[in-house]
Chain length 290, copies 2
């Protein structure tokens, strides 16, 4: 494995800005690695849309990152992970990691016997992927999944801690509380921002699993296993380097600065807007098609 | 003007399914006309997205309808009307109507002296187009505009009459009520479904202006003025014919049947899913570009 390959960035894509929570976790776990983020802000959200559409978008998103010369593609979006990970693993020339398996593994490691809950978009929950993963260990009666479609707009409006969010949580989560779950997977990149609200609604005895951290751990393990971790010219770990972050977006939404900072925890610089034509072309370049 | 042209369908596009409220109003006003609807369900919503993106999408959407041989393009989406109508008027080979001017005209005709309120997505309100239109007659102090970003997801979740919707209305509309508006423009195709909720929140003295009806009236006038109204072979009005409706969508979302029926007031048949490639190509065919 040559140094050039090791020094390439890690690529992360998401349907929009929510995946910045994953970028942040990756930067904390692998601070010396360069990161390229693509947020498909022109076509966000993915969670309400059909499988074919999400697959077609994910191909373009991943193709764009591959064209940036990344050494690993991280699918930060739960819905894209649900519908496109198998396909991307087949067609991409670099390794690819999704957010579902790490979340499932963490939940199974942490549960004290269940039941286990998972919340996400309509697409993620209806794909059944989390349920399948958990079902390899738990019986079906111990798995409780709920679509929570309003959580994404509530977070984007910055309504954490607001009465509207409390009410929506009560609406969606009462059945999970009644089922007595001990672990709850946050199956959407927006949900880590609702941790405090979720804690209040579910109570302190329910362990909240944030897939972002689990995914960062999985990415570190995968890079190590494939000898793709960044090394200096003497093949030593680079401990004192702070990796660069580059941001590609397909649209600058009205509340970009505000929403972006909320997810990343710092100001976003160095943004390039990707034209739709460029995005469409990289998807085509990725053939063989689905 | 030949019969062939008169017998062509009217094309209607929207960012998603909300524009079906406009389709419904057009069918009621012009029952003998054929209608082709395109909903860009793969990339919905437009209301949170930037001007360049909305313009690029609207070009593709309108191009797709032109490729279907329509005699008139109706832009049902308020955000697309705000950002793309001027451009489309220049580049389309057929007349084009947006939803903002008819809404403004109706509000100005109905107000009993104002103030007048308008609610819509972030894009629509920040474009300032409604405010400009109203400002040709009213002074700035008599125009009250509010972004209501949660109304679209609340409608799509079917939460009309729900406590969550009541609370969101209170949050967004208290300033409009305090301002003592006598007329409120519903500046988004989703909002007609909230008429009952809006009536409860604003009180019976506030006149709610639904742009769908105003737009249908404007379309009828425009077709008459351009001699494009459907006629039989003896050049007489066709009063007993029920026009056909065709539906094109870029995605079949998870709750399509439920949401679609809610907006249209009847079951949606004859749906064709438009591939992204086809949509992108029709946008390019529409050159000269912006």
């Amino acid at each position: 494995m040559n140094d050039d390959l090791r020094r390439r960035p890690i690529g992360v894509f998401d349907s929009g800005l929510g995946g910045l929570t994953v970028l942040r976790a990756l930067h904390e776990r692998l601070p010396d690695e360069d990161l390229v983020y693509f947020g498909d802000t022109a076509r966000v959200p993915y969670g309400t849309k059909g499988e074919r559409t999400v697959l077609a978008f994910a191909r373009q998103d991943a193709g764009l990152l591959v064209a940036q010369g990344v050494k690993l593609v991280v699918v930060a979006c739960n819905t894209a992970s649900a519908f496109a990970l198998d396909h991307l693993s087949e067609v991409l020339p670099v390794p690819v990691l999704g957010v579902i398996e790490p979340g499932v593994a963490t939940a199974l490691a942490r549960t004290r016997g269940g039941p286990v809950g998972v919340i996400g978009t309509s697409g993620t929950i209806r794909s059944g992927r989390y349920q399948e993963g958990l079902g390899r260990v738990l019986d079906a009666g111990s798995i409780h999944a709920r679509e929570c479609p309003l959580f994404v707009p509530l977070v984007e409006e910055g309504l954490m801690g607001h009465a509207l969010t409390d009410l929506a949580m009560e609406e969606y989560l009462a059945p999970l509380r009644a089922a007595g779950i001990d672990t709850l997977i946050l199956g959407c990149t927006h949900y880590p921002l609702l941790k405090a609200d979720l804690g209040r609604t579910m109570g302190p005895e329910v362990d909240l699993v944030d897939s972002a951290e689990a995914l960062a751990e999985a990415a570190a393990a995968r890079l190590a296993a494939d000898s793709l971790r960044r090394r200096d010219s003497d093949d030593r770990a680079v401990s004192d380097r702070s990796g660069e972050m580059k941001f590609l977006l397909s649209d600058i939404p009205w509340k970009f600065a505000e929403i972006g900072e909320r997810f990343l925890g710092r100001k976003i610089d160095d943004v390039r807007v990707v034209e739709l034509d460029e995005l469409e072309a990289t998807g085509r370049d990725l053939d063989p098609g689905s």
